[in-house]
């Protein structure tokens, strides 16, 4: 079965009792048992819910895993993965991970006596050197944010295997349409389902997908014990979103590629960061690793200062000024004043997040309309 067929059918089996072509939304918090001490498949919704389970089956199928767990947000999913570790263990993360993950690792996970360090995952030698004997989990993102850096997931997976630690990949930006980390050797795939999986800016959700049944059991134990599960209404909306995931993602990639090429030739723009451009440092890896497109996130630098970039970001009429990404509506933001404002100026400079950068999340609008909108905004 191909991707679209799986997304529509697996985990969405016909409801046997009513024949409903779309599975019901099971809102029950608890399920009636027939015998004391003999549990049916579902007992209590934190432990398992039919609507959530349907979504988990679809996600496992799309990522090529043995099982998936759906969480209330991407951060709840990442947090659950870190709860596999214990005091004294070390987590090595890529240096361009999502800011919320950075905060989780450095301000929450560290409280349990877990050590955290960052290294650039795009530089395999430096990254390998940062692995410690106590390293239990490696955490990476590709493409990275906001510079769209590309990490060679298969190469990092080999590293992780050699050092006997788990590799977790935040696959939010690529989605399983473009990249399937489990097939490249990763142990855990994490998603902010808030983004492309849901796809309509109307749910918060997260997911972990794994390929090893033993690891699945451990993570299920964590989820059930800590409780950050996805609610049934949101599970329904994510499942509904998955049915158009492939066509959305590929259309959004195509638009992003066109806009990236157009911006590259625009004198008002000094730099375009998009993995689909031949001059992007990660282009060759991306060509191997990403199937059918290079993602729908794109960053560019305007010629001019902080104020000029701010003006551009505030002047669009179709692109809306907001953080987040991955939905049908196109969004625009200035990393220096929005998504990465919590970094001080020196740190921003060190990571290459200049004042002139603008990050776009390309939605599903017609490419001509988006281009016309950017064109007039750049004129601002």
């Amino acid at each position: 079965m191909k991707f679209r067929t799986k997304a529509i059918h697996l985990g969405n089996e016909r409801d046997a009792q009513t024949g409903a072509v779309v599975p019901p939304i099971h809102v029950a918090s608890t399920f009636v048992q027939h015998q004391a001490g003999e549990w049916r498949e579902f007992d209590y919704s934190r432990s398992g819910n039919p609507t959530r389970k349907g979504l988990e089956e679809t996600l496992a199928a799309l990522e090529g895993g043995c099982g998936a767990l759906a969480f209330a947000s991407g951060m709840a999913a990442t947090h659950a993965a870190t709860m596999l570790l214990r005091s004294g263990d070390h987590i090595l993360a890529g240096s361009d991970i999502y800011g919320g993950t950075y905060r989780l690792l450095h301000k929450i996970v560290n409280r349990a006596g877990i050590e955290v360090s960052l290294a650039p995952a795009t530089d395999l030698t430096a990254f390998a050197q940062a692995i410690r004997p106590t390293t239990k989990l490696i955490w990476i993102e590709s493409p990275g944010n906001p510079l769209m850096s590309i990490t060679d997931i298969a190469a990092v997976a080999q590293l992780a295997q050699r050092h006997d630690c788990l590799l977790g990949v935040d696959n939010t930006f690529a989605s399983p349409v473009l990249t399937r980390p489990l097939e490249l050797g990763a142990d855990i795939v994490m998603h902010s389902a808030t983004k492309y999986l849901g796809g309509h800016s109307d749910v918060l959700g997260g997911a972990l997908v794994v390929k090893d049944p033993e690891l699945f059991k451990q993570l299920y134990f964590v989820q059930n014990a800590t409780g950050g599960v996805l609610g049934p209404f949101d599970a329904f909306l994510v499942s509904r979103g998955l049915k158009t995931l492939a066509i959305r993602m590929l259309a959004q990639c195509e638009t992003a590629q066109t806009l990236a090429e157009w911006l590259t030739n625009d004198p008002r723009v000094t730099r375009v960061l998009y993995p689909g451009l031949a001059q992007h440092p990660g282009h060759d890896i991306a060509r191997r690793q990403m199937l059918g497109g290079f993602g729908a996130m794109l960053t560019f630098e305007v010629a001019g200062d902080y104020a000029q970039a701010k003006r551009v970001a505030e002047s669009t009429k179709l692109f809306q000024l907001a953080v987040s990404l991955g939905a049908v509506e196109s969004l625009i933001e200035q990393p220096a004043s929005m998504s990465h404002a919590s970094y001080d100026a020196a740190a921003r400079a060190a990571f290459g997040i200049t004042d002139g950068l603008i990050r776009l999340s390309i939605g599903l609008e017609d490419v001509e309309d988006l281009q016309a909108d950017l064109d007039q905004a750049l004129q601002a």
């Binding site: 191909k2 072509v21 779309v22 158009t244 959305r248 009429k317 179709l318 939605g363 609008e365 001509e368």
Partner: protein
């Protein structure tokens, strides 16, 4: 979008941009990027003067849930923009929309004429129920324009057709259809459910009312019921009033799902069109298939009209199994693995049915023959699955 820069006529936007943004305000309640679901059954007034201002139409606002709700206002503007019409009225289902329009426009003694290939419940409503109110309904053979013109009398008020028709997918020559109506000064209604405004835009040819079962492609996920009529604000005013009295309004939760479905409208239609065309071509070349009805096939009787009026030909494909009785045909339906056996169409999941069994089981054989529903007919509503998977599935079912 609702708030273009004043004094500047906005450029004509592409179909996806319209489907995503039209009808919505750029700044919404609480600045949320999506419209909130407002479930209220009633809406409060600050004071008596506010009530009076509303009644005197000094202020446009909601009053009571049966007359409309904010989510529905958004979707009506969006659907009107997608269709290229001035206004739209949303209903709880496609049938409610048909009933709502005909009940508004027709009175005792009036006559309507419709092409006979159509959704069987639309026919049933006209023949069994409108007649009870003394409305005369005349059916003429689909796409027989001379017969339609000949059936017109001074009492005729409206000409009605689907395009493409269900399940034969005959395509109406809209220019001829509208010309007849104009000559006799009667109104026209096209049920374009099977086409959608992505593939067919009847208003551009002068059709007065375009109707959709939004349950189908507009919602697109087999998870809601809705219907809509698009037309001029002036003509729809009375329709909206009667809806408020009859009460077949859509619910706020449903309306949100419809709005969400429309965000991927263009993409979904492109895939439905691709799958429909590919499956029609596959079936036409299969030795077990006697005949395929699909507007995108050169062999289709209405291919010329389809090419003239339509951008794509939709996901619905009807075919006849060669030398098969009803049971052998049912065996093909039962052998299919991916499409599910169910009525309806237009959702992401492919559906399959045998019209004889699903919709005409209780009709007399001679009536079925009159409606053109042979025992060996199968209707396949292609969803959004990968084309290769659907073809492989139909192939194994036919070759079993």
């Amino acid at each position: 979008m609702t708030d273009p820069t004043p004094g500047q006529s906005p450029p004509r936007l592409g179909p996806s941009t319209i489907a995503i943004h039209s009808g919505e305000s750029r700044q919404k309640l609480a600045h949320s990027i999506t419209d909130p679901i407002i479930c209220a059954s009633t809406y409060t007034f600050a004071n008596t003067q506010a009530v009076i201002d509303y009644i005197e139409q000094k202020q446009q606002r909601e009053e009571y849930g049966r007359y409309g709700n904010p989510g529905e206002d958004v979707i009506e503007k969006k659907l009107a923009a997608i269709e290229g019409g001035e206004d739209a009225v949303l209903y709880a289902s496609g049938m409610a929309a048909i009933v709502g329009l005909l009940m508004t426009k027709l009175s005792t003694g009036d006559e309507i004429i419709f092409f006979d290939e159509c959704y069987h419940r639309s026919r049933e409503f006209c023949v069994k129920h409108l007649t009870r109110y003394g409305v005369v309904t005349r059916q003429v053979k689909a796409c027989d324009y001379e017969a339609m013109a000949a059936a017109i009398t001074p009492q005729t008020k409206m000409l009605v057709s689907e395009s493409p028709t269900n399940p034969h997918l005959s395509c109406v020559d809209l220019e001829k259809f509208v010309a007849i109506a104009r000559e006799h000064q009667v109104e026209t209604l096209i049920d374009a459910t099977l086409a959608t405004p992505y593939n067919l835009r009847p208003i551009e040819y002068g059709v007065d009312y375009v109707l959709h079962s939004a349950t189908k492609y507009l919602g697109g996920h087999n998870d809601l019921l809705a219907g809509v009529i698009v037309g001029s604000a002036e003509k729809l005013d009375a329709v909206r009033n009667l809806r408020g009295i009859m009460g077949a309004i859509n619910s706020p939760h449903n309306v949100y799902l419809l709005q969400r479905g429309l965000k991927t409208f263009e993409l979904r239609m492109q895939r439905h069109n691709q799958n429909g065309q590919a499956l029609a071509e596959f079936l036409e070349n299969h030795p077990r298939v006697e005949k395929v009805y699909y507007p995108g096939l050169k062999s289709h009787s209405y291919h010329a009209e389809a090419v003239k009026y339509m951008r794509g030909f939709g996901g619905l494909v009807t075919f006849l199994v060669k030398d098969a009785d009803w049971r052998q045909t049912a065996n093909v339906v039962d052998a299919v693995q991916i499409p599910r056996i169910a009525p309806s169409l237009g959702g992401v999941e492919s559906l399959i049915e045998q019209p004889l069994v699903m919709s005409y089981y209780e009709q007399k054989p001679e009536d079925r023959q009159r409606f053109g529903i042979p025992d060996n007919m199968i209707r396949l509503a292609c969803g959004l699955e990968n084309t290769e998977d659907l073809i492989a599935d139909l192939q194994q079912a036919l070759e079993r």
